[in-house]
Symmetry: C2
Subunit: 331 residues, 2 copies
């Protein structure tokens, strides 16, 4: 059978803790050398849109799949649409196809949660959030799944949006969340900082500056996923004692990292990839060190998150079963 999961189905079948665990399994498999992830295919469409395809094959767990996402149309404001397909190698079957707009934000959050589990101080209790969009929400939720967070401060430029974030996420997570008037106020003294913006920063304008980092802090930054996008300054990279990146590709894809490299503030000897971190490489040596996690997303994260959603959807009996969708008759 093949299960079709639309946005509502996927949202019902999301369990953040399970997704974090599944992504961890996938990254351990990746580190062991059983995963094939080619460079993503990135094609230009009309009206400055794009069509991207990210396949991956996991030869230990026996899963494989693809993510397709695109943005096109005469209306420049049209959104990105995301599709993930998951194939079970053992059954030679396309087991699910799902909308992954919301899921992409969830897997980004879950990956941040996973990095935070290994990088933040054990006793971390406070989070400073910059950004109030979907990614800011899923990233906070994931951090709360791996640490006993008690208090959060949030800043984003629009007062209504940050107030709404504080109200809704406080209710969802059952912790105190306060909206504040500046990014400094949000991050000052926080044990963990989540920078989750989508600013295509003009010039050197960024949402977070390294000078705001204090002893023992862990910083997550997920919003600079293209060379043109920046959200943290280059000092952040220099101040961090340890840096973890979700993929080496990020060094050509993230404007933040590209700029830090250009400025000579990106010391490769401090950099570990996330699959190595979750496979036992220790980055934080003590509670005084400062750590930084940068991510752009990978197909393994997508496929493992989608697998977790698929398993949960089957349990909950959500989605549309289109039966033996892909024929396997021999001719």
């Amino acid at each position: 059978m093949t299960l079709i999961l639309n946005a509502k189905d996927v949202e019902q079948a999301i369990n953040m803790r399970t997704i974090i665990d599944q992504i961890e399994k996938g990254l351990v498999e990746e580190y062991s050398g059983h995963v094939i992830v080619p460079a993503r295919v990135n094609l230009p469409t009309n009206n400055k849109g794009f069509f991207r395809v990210m396949p991956a094959v996991m030869n230990e767990s026996g899963y494989m799949g693809f993510k397709v996402f695109f943005k096109s149309g005469a209306n420049n404001q049209s959104s990105v649409r995301y599709l993930i397909g998951v194939i079970d190698q053992n059954e030679n079957n396309l087991e699910a196809m799902m909308d992954s707009h919301y899921l992409t934000a969830v897997r980004t959050g879950a990956t941040t949660g996973l990095a935070t589990k290994y990088l933040a101080r054990e006793n971390a209790k406070t989070v400073g959030v910059i950004g109030s969009g979907l990614e800011a929400r899923t990233n906070l939720e994931a951090v709360c799944a791996v640490r006993n967070i008690e208090y959060v401060r949030v800043f984003s430029p629009n007062p209504n949006r940050r107030a709404l974030f504080a109200q809704e996420m406080s209710q969802k997570l059952g912790i105190k969340i306060e909206a504040v008037d500046s990014p400094e106020m949000a991050v000052q003294g926080a044990d963990i900082i989540n920078v989750c913006t989508n600013t295509a920063a003009a010039g050197n304008r960024v949402a977070f500056e390294g000078k705001w980092m204090s002893t023992g802090v862990h910083v997550n930054s997920i919003g600079s996923t293209m060379p043109s996008m920046r959200e943290i300054d280059t000092d952040t990279f220099e101040k961090a004692d340890g840096i973890v990146i979700d993929t080496k590709h990020l060094e050509e894809e993230s404007g933040d990292v590209i700029t830090a490299i250009k400025n000579g503030q990106y010391d490769s000897s401090k950099v570990t990839v996330l699959p190595a971190l979750v496979s036992g490489n220790i980055v934080r040596k003590n509670d005084a060190q400062m750590t930084l996690f940068k991510s752009v997303g990978t197909a393994v994260q997508d496929i493992m998150a989608a697998r977790a959603v698929y398993e949960e959807a089957k349990k909950l009996n959500v989605g549309t079963d289109v039966g033996e969708f892909l024929e396997a008759k021999m001719f």
Copy 2:
């Protein structure tokens, strides 16, 4: 909306003549330079299986899409499964996802039909077929859609299978079809020859030999789609006055062509790509010349065939509409 079409739905919505026309439109667009087709991604899976992804973007017609096909599983006899997704750039919408096992054979046939329309003699009336599988059927059907074929001879090694082919295809196409005892008998004097086998030929054993070609013949060969596969000998390339290939990639992908190049029997000055042929480049100069069409399949052929199926399916009201499958909400 997104329409899900399984094997039965697709079969109902196939109209060979429309598919030939749509592929022709796509190839004209390709020749005009508005199509982006990257090299296909080809990943190895467990148990000597594979996972392939072929995307394409068509920036004049505004369509794009992907074909995914795979073969995996402990059972080495497991079949290949095929999926095609078609996206309408203007609507920024995934309009259809369909099984494309049968459709792949149909689009291969349709592409042969298109080549035959431009390469075979106008007055061609007889076809010799080598092979009796699904591809042999769709290729014959397509040739009959572009020429007034009156009589067909078919050979394949299994007497029951070739008899069944003759009986079933005669009924389907309303013409006389005879099963014969050797490949020479099938092709002798035929105006058009279709070689449609899936022999992973050992050594130099091939299904068709150039010495069987006679004045004015047009030969189609579609079965050598991997370097390890061969179905026609290298003399065929030397004897042909004009050769048309569906894509330049074929020169690295088809065992037939690779071997002909190695033997010095593949004269590049005789070779034209199919998009150029359908855009007005003339290959057959007179009724005495011998021509050869070789194909391995391309993503543009797939997407245009899938689009034709989608339009027909909407008319016929077949398939499962899964609504606004991929969310486009802005966050």
